[in-house]
C-alpha cells in the first residue's frame, strides 16, 4: 500500500536540500564558541544560516535567536516580553503559547477563526500595558490573522506583539512586523529540533530562559546544533523559492470538493487560509474514527491535538470558532510541499468509502443508542 502523507502541519517531509546542507555541516567538527579554526568553521556555517534566515523573514541577524524549536521560541518571547505586562492571547493559539501564559486574557475569534479586532482595541484601551500573542496562521484551520492591523493597534496602545509564525513560515510570505516572531524548522521542511525567535531592534536585549554559557549573545544558553541549523536555513531558502502555493491550493481545493460531495463541512473557509491546510468536519462521525479509517488506507491526517497517550481531545481551536459538536468531528488535512495529485485521489477514494460506511453509524452518538 502506497503511503500518502497529508499531515504537513504536524511536520513537513525533510527537503532534500536541507538534508544535503546537514550532511555537509555534520562533517564539520567544531563548536561555534571556540576560537580555533574548527570553531570558526562551525561558526561560519551557523552565522551564514542566521543571516540567510533573518534576510528571509525580514529581521536583523543580530536579533535572531536560535532555540530548540517553535515551542521554546514562544516560551522565550512570553518570558522576555511579558514580564510586568498583562498578557492577551488569541483563543486559537497553540499550546506553546497557551501554556506559557496560563493566566492570559483570551481574545475571541469569529466563526472563521479570525480574532476580534474591535474586542482587542477595547481590551487594550482599558488597563495596564499588555503583551499580545496572536499567531500568523492557525495549525488546525489554517486561518491567517490580520497581523498588520493587529500590530498597528498594539503600537497605538503601547502594547507589545508576539507573533507565532510557526505554521506560516515557509508557506506564505512572512516578514517581522511585530516585537517578536517565532518560527520553526520542521514546519518548513527542515529538521526538527531547531527554531528561532526573531526580535525587533527595541527588544534585542532580553532575559534568557536558559542562561548557560551565554551563547546567542546571552539570550539562549547551550551549544547550538550547527548541522540542523544549516538544514533549517537551507529549507527556508527553498521554501521561499519553490512557489508551491498555487499548486498546493489547487490540490487542497480538490480535497475539499471530494469531502463536500460526501456531505462534509469545511471549517473556517470564509477567511484567508494557508494554501495547504483544510479542516473538514463530517457531521455525526467521530474524528478519531475518521483518522483511523483513513490511516488503515495508508492516508495520514490528524484531528484535534493528540496528547502523549495518542488520545485525541476535542479541538480547542474549533470550539473557539463556535463549531460546537462539529469540533469533535473534524479532521485536518495539511498538504506537504511534495504533495501530488495521486495523494489527493487516494484521499478522495478513501474518504468516500469511509463516509459511506460511517455516516449512518451508531458510533456517532453512543448515548443515543444505549445498549440495554
Amino acid at each position: 500500500m502506497m503511503p500518502h502523507y497529508l499531515d504537513a502541519n504536524a511536520t513537513e517531509p525533510l527537503r532534500p536540500e536541507a538534508m544535503a546542507a546537514m550532511l555537509d555541516a555534520m562533517a564539520t567538527t567544531g563548536n561555534p564558541s571556540s576560537i580555533h579554526r574548527a570553531g570558526r568553521d562551525a561558526r561560519r556555517i551557523m552565522e551564514d544560516a542566521r543571516e540567510s534566515l533573518a534576510r528571509g523573514f525580514g529581521g536583523d541577524p543580530a536579533d535572531l535567536v536560535f532555540t530548540s524549536g517553535g515551542t521554546e521560541a514562544d516560551a522565550l518571547a512570553v518570558h522576555a516580553l511579558g514580564t510586568n505586562r498583562r498578557i492577551v492571547v488569541g483563543a486559537t493559539e497553540h499550546d506553546a503559547i497557551r501554556s506559557a501564559a496560563p493566566n492570559a486574557a483570551i481574545l475571541p475569534v469569529d466563526r472563521n477563526g479570525v480574532v476580534d479586532i474591535d474586542r482587542l482595541a477595547a481590551i487594550l484601551a482599558d488597563g495596564p500595558p499588555a503583551l499580545v500573542c496572536v499567531m500568523l496562521a492557525n495549525n488546525e484551520a489554517g486561518t491567517i490573522q490580520p497581523i498588520p492591523a493587529i500590530a498597528a493597534l498594539c503600537r497605538r496602545f503601547g502594547a507589545l506583539l508576539h507573533v507565532d509564525a510557526v505554521q506560516a513560515a515557509g508557506r506564505m510570505p512572512v516578514t517581522l512586523v511585530s516585537d517578536s516572531m517565532a518560527i520553526s524548522s520542521h514546519k518548513l521542511g527542515g529538521p526538527a529540533g531547531v527554531g528561532a525567535l526573531l526580535l525587533s531592534a527595541e527588544h534585542s536585549h532580553i532575559t534568557p530562559l536558559i542562561r548557560g554559557g551565554g551563547q546567542e549573545r546571552g539570550r539562549r544558553g547551550g551549544t547550538p546544533p550547527v548541522a540542523i541549523i544549516a538544514g533549517f536555513a537551507a529549507a527556508a531558502r527553498i521554501a521561499a523559492a519553490d512557489g508551491a502555493r498555487d499548486r498546493l491550493g489547487a490540490l487542497r481545493d480538490s480535497i475539499e470538493r471530494a469531502a463536500l460531495a460526501q456531505g462534509a463541512i469545511v471549517c473556517g473557509a470564509g477567511a484567508p487560509r494557508l494554501a495547504n491546510t483544510t479542516c473538514i468536519a463530517l457531521p455525526n462521525v467521530r474524528a478519531d474514527a475518521q483518522v483511523i479509517a483513513l490511516d488503515i488506507d495508508g492516508i495520514s491526517v490528524s484531528a484535534g491535538s493528540a496528547c502523549s497517550s495518542g488520545k485525541v481531545a476535542a479541538s480547542h481551536v474549533l470550539q473557539a470558532m463556535g463549531l460546537g459538536t462539529l469540533a469533535g468531528q473534524a479532521i485536518r488535512v495539511s498538504l506537504p510541499w511534495n504533495a501530488t495529485t495521486a495523494d489527493v485521489e487516494a484521499f478522495a477514494d478513501s474518504y468516500a468509502r469511509m463516509a459511506g460506511r460511517m455516516r449512518p453509524s451508531g458510533m456517532t452518538n453512543p448515548m443515543a443508542d444505549r445498549a440495554a
Binding site: 496528547c307 502523549s308 497517550s309 448515548m367
Partner: protein
C-alpha cells in the same frame, strides 16, 4: 488491548495466524486524575504497554477516547446503583456499553470483520448461530461478566483465550512472542479505582450513598449505626459493629434501603429467598415461551443453583430449587452446562 498480557496475547496470536490486526485501546478515565497527582499524564502505563506490544508485533494501534462514555455509562451507574440500595457489577456495564457495543460499531465502521478480546470465554458456532460458553480454565472463566453481550455482537466476536488451559499457558505464549508484558501482574478488580477505595468514587458522585443511617432488624428495631449503605451488600457480615451478634446469633445484611438509608440485618443462615426477579434480561438463545429448567449463578464466583426461569414482561422470574441470597444489582446468569443461555440484573424485591 488493555496493555495487559491477555489482550496482548490475543493480538499476537491473531497476527501470527496471518490476520490484519488493528489494536485499539480504550482510554476509559484520566489516569492523572485517578491517581490524584497534579500534572500527571492522562495516560497510564497500561496504554504505553499496549502501544509497545503493538510496536513489537508490527500492527497498527490506536487509543480511543471513551472517557465521557465510561463516566456516564459505567462510573455514574456504579454510584447510582449503590445509592439505589444495590451492589453493581461495573465490568458488566462496561462490557455491554463501551466494549461490546461501541467497539463492535467501531469495528464495523473501520471495515473490520471481527472484534477479538482477551476475555476468558469461548464462542462456539452452533446450529442457531454463535454460542457463548465458559472458558476451559474454570478459574479464569469470565462468562458471567459477558451475559449481556447480544447475539449479534457475539456473532462478530472472537475470544482466543477461552480455549487456553490456564494463565500460565497464556504467559507462555506472550514469552514466545517476545511480548514484554508476559510477566505483568493481573489487573485489579475495579480499574477506575486505582488508589483509595471504591467508596471515595461513590461518595463524590452520590454522597447520599455514604451518609450515616440506622442498622435495623427485620421488624424495624434500631440495633446500630452505619456509615453509608454503599458499604453494604446482601450477605455481608462485616462492618456491623455491635449488631454483628444479636441474642447469640451472628447477623448479616439482608437488604439496604435507599430512601430511609437503613441497613436491614437478619440471622445468618435463616434468611434467603427462592424467588428472584430480573430486569434487562439478555437471551443468547431464542427466548423461551414457557419456563426454562437450567442452572443459574447469582454471583461471579459461586456454584450454580438449579432453577426454573420464566420470561416476564419486565425481564424474567427465577424460581430457585433452594433459597439463596441474591444481591440486587448483581447479575443472574443462566447456564446449560458450560453454555450461557442468558441473564439479567437482580431486582430489589420491592421493585
Amino acid at each position: 488491548m488493555s496493555g495487559g498480557v491477555d489482550s496482548s496475547v490475543v493480538a499476537g496470536l491473531l497476527h501470527e495466524a496471518g490476520h490484519e490486526v488493528i489494536g485499539v485501546t480504550l482510554q476509559l478515565y484520566d489516569h492523572g486524575v485517578a491517581v490524584g497527582r497534579k500534572g500527571a499524564c492522562c495516560a497510564g502505563q497500561d496504554i504505553h504497554d499496549a502501544r509497545r506490544v503493538a510496536d513489537r508485533l508490527g500492527i497498527a494501534h490506536y487509543v480511543i477516547d471513551a472517557e465521557d462514555r465510561f463516566r456516564q455509562s459505567v462510573i455514574a451507574n456504579f454510584a447510582d446503583s449503590y445509592a439505589a440500595g444495590e451492589t453493581p457489577v461495573p465490568c458488566v456495564r462496561c462490557n455491554q456499553s463501551v466494549k461490546f457495543h461501541d467497539l463492535t460499531v467501531l469495528a464495523r465502521d473501520l471495515g473490520a470483520e471481527r472484534l477479538a478480546t482477551g476475555h476468558y470465554v469461548r464462542r462456539i458456532d452452533g446450529p442457531n448461530g454463535a454460542e457463548l460458553h465458559r472458558a476451559i480454565d474454570a478459574e479464569r472463566d469470565q462468562s458471567w461478566f459477558l451475559f449481556a453481550t447480544t447475539r449479534s455482537q457475539l456473532d462478530g466476536c472472537l475470544f482466543p483465550l477461552g480455549a487456553m488451559p490456564d494463565k500460565r499457558a497464556v504467559r507462555g505464549v506472550a514469552e514466545r512472542l517476545g511480548l514484554m508484558v508476559a510477566d505483568k501482574p493481573d489487573s485489579q478488580d475495579i480499574c477506575f479505582v486505582p488508589s483509595g477505595t471504591y467508596i471515595d468514587t461513590v461518595a463524590k458522585l452520590r454522597p447520599d450513598a455514604v451518609a450515616a443511617g440506622d442498622i435495623v432488624t427485620a421488624d424495624g428495631t434500631v440495633v446500630g449505626q452505619h456509615d453509608g449503605i454503599a458499604r453494604f451488600t446482601v450477605g455481608q457480615g462485616k462492618r456491623l459493629g455491635q449488631a454483628a451478634m444479636l441474642s447469640g446469633q451472628r447477623q448479616m445484611v439482608v437488604a439496604t434501603e435507599p430512601g430511609t438509608r437503613r441497613v436491614v440485618i437478619g440471622p445468618r443462615g435463616a434468611a434467603g429467598t427462592d424467588r428472584v426477579s430480573l430486569r434487562e434480561v439478555n437471551w443468547l438463545i431464542d427466548p423461551p415461551t414457557t419456563s426454562l429448567r437450567c442452572r443459574v449463578k447469582l454471583r461471579a464466583r459461586e456454584e450454580p443453583h438449579w432453577a426454573d426461569v420464566t420470561p416476564t414482561p419486565e425481564g424474567a422470574a427465577v424460581h430457585l430449587d433452594m433459597p439463596a441470597l441474591p444481591a440486587p444489582g448483581q447479575a443472574c446468569v443462566f447456564y446449560d452446562g458450560d453454555r450461557v443461555l442468558g441473564g439479567g440484573f437482580i431486582q430489589r424485591p420491592d421493585a
